[in-house]
Amino acid sequence: MSSAASEMTATGAPNRSGGMVFLKAFAGLFLRDLRVLTRELGPFLLRVGMQPLLFLFVFTFVMPHMSSGNPMAGGAGTSFGTILLPGLMAVAIMFSGIAAVALPLSTEFGITREIDDRVMCPVPVAAVAIEKICFSAMQSIIGALMVIPMAIWIPAKPVYPEIQNWLLFALVLVMSSLLAGALGLTIGASVNPKQIGLVFSIIVVPITFLGCVYYPWAGLKQMVWLQYGVLFNPIVYMSEGLRAAVTPSVEHMPVWAILLALTFFLGILGSLGVRAFLRRVIS
């Protein structure tokens, strides 16, 4: 290292060694993404807000106001709102992850190769991929928090979060958001831009509907095959984790299992995503 440093001075270039290079480059990448996001703040808010808004409106406001003869009204009452709140937060987290990473990455990897300049940063290429995950996580957190006021204002009977363990809440929120970013990175870096639409139908929609979003995992106990089948779905742990943190009165998985599974999937999807990213930029 010392020989390299003296070499740098010898060539007249500024001394550019030191660990600060990494942090500064990472901050630069983050600022770039932030600039692009602020330019599209309206579309961003609509993108993350529309789904939970309509869900709450239809299932917790419209349905309860329908006549009692409506077969949906029984299941979709005010208690459904309590089940729905953490689930919708999980959906917001996941959709932000897909929209913040998978979609832009698939175009940046496309014919424009816009990612090239960022890949040439003086940091390991993996850091560029990890920045994408972190930036996406920030959007996911905003998206998830937006659901809370909606759940208070929209339903016929307000749904209030009952967070008792703030540390658990923060932990689950951050881990779920990073997990969503890692999933977005994996999809964005490994799927052909032309097929990104198809990914929504064959991956995003199924893992959402089978992700214990609209029902607690414990509710599946009559269908054991399904109850164990969905354990492969990382969304399950996001929903259950938020359920444990935001509405602990609803039956949920044990906290240790949730955290363990979130860590496991974050590790798997994180390394898959980074590897797929490296494959796309280094030949």
Binding site: A4, E7, M8, A10, T11, G12, A13, P14, R16, S17, M20, V21, K24, A25, A27, G28, L29, L31, R32, R35, V36, R39, T112, R113, E114, D116, D117, R118, V119, M120, C121, P122, V123, P124, V125, V281, I282, S283
Partner: protein, 332 residues
Amino acid sequence: MRGISPDAAEIPLPIPMNSYIVEIKALKKVYEGKQRVVALDGIDLEVRQGEIFGLLGPNGAGKTTTIGICTTRTLPTSGTVTINGIDVVAHPARARQFIGVVPQFNTLDRSLTIYENLYFHCRYFGMPHSEAKSRSNALLAQFLLSERGKAYPAQLSGGMAQRVQIARAIAHRPLVLFLDEPSAGLDPQSRIAMWEAVEGLRKEGITVVLTTHYMEEADALSDRVGIVDRGRMLALGTPQVLKDTHGARTVIDLKLRNIDGADSIAEKMKVLAGVDGAERIPEGVRVFAGNVDGLLPELIQVCSPLGLRDISIAEPSLETVFIHLTGRDLRE
């Protein structure tokens, strides 16, 4: 000629001329697959601090692969590349601090304005806000882009986008700038503007490595030229030295109506005064001549029994050097 002067006092460089900024040793790249492609077959090259070096060769010769490896984007099968003494495979992130790249295609960030493309590039390389801002504005002025700072890349012409790419590539003050086919797709006027921009980099002491398949470009811009073909370095030197040693001869292609007697015609031509050599080509005869004065009428006369269809003359140039070395045209 712009060749590097041995008098170091004239050149404001901080290090002696014999130090190399880019060192390539026995570089090989093989793409394994259904069809095994040997892109680079043992390239050796040293680029000196402060020079403009041109890699000349036809499409598919291995130029882009060489640049890809030097800029840490492609991994070599074997061999080494060091930039400023740093191994690009072992320490890619550190090597990137000293590298600027202008890729073959427009890779400007479409979500950012021109100014922001420069500004954030500076931030990626660790400049604080105020420095990044002043550096970006200075570059916009230097490359005559100040009025377009708020435009988006999609609104620029090809020539302007290329200038922005060069400005962005040197924004972090790299020691060496790699330009991959910088004039591909540019109109003649933009090409000259781009040449001027590259010439301007010399004043800043930036070493430039460019690839091209236009021999005029290599000749006009480069202090030294390396001619590559099929993954091998065929010749290396200043354009003048290359022309003197490999092809300071005019190449005259004579296309014949009746090519059956072409071999005997070639033999007859070899003995003419001023002719260094003659050989069969698919459509007729190719003559290498040192002195063309008075030669053409004689050649036409020799050909007349077989019917001369077309005649083309290439003055001594890197093109004729390439033909001499490979037997093929650059654009074939």
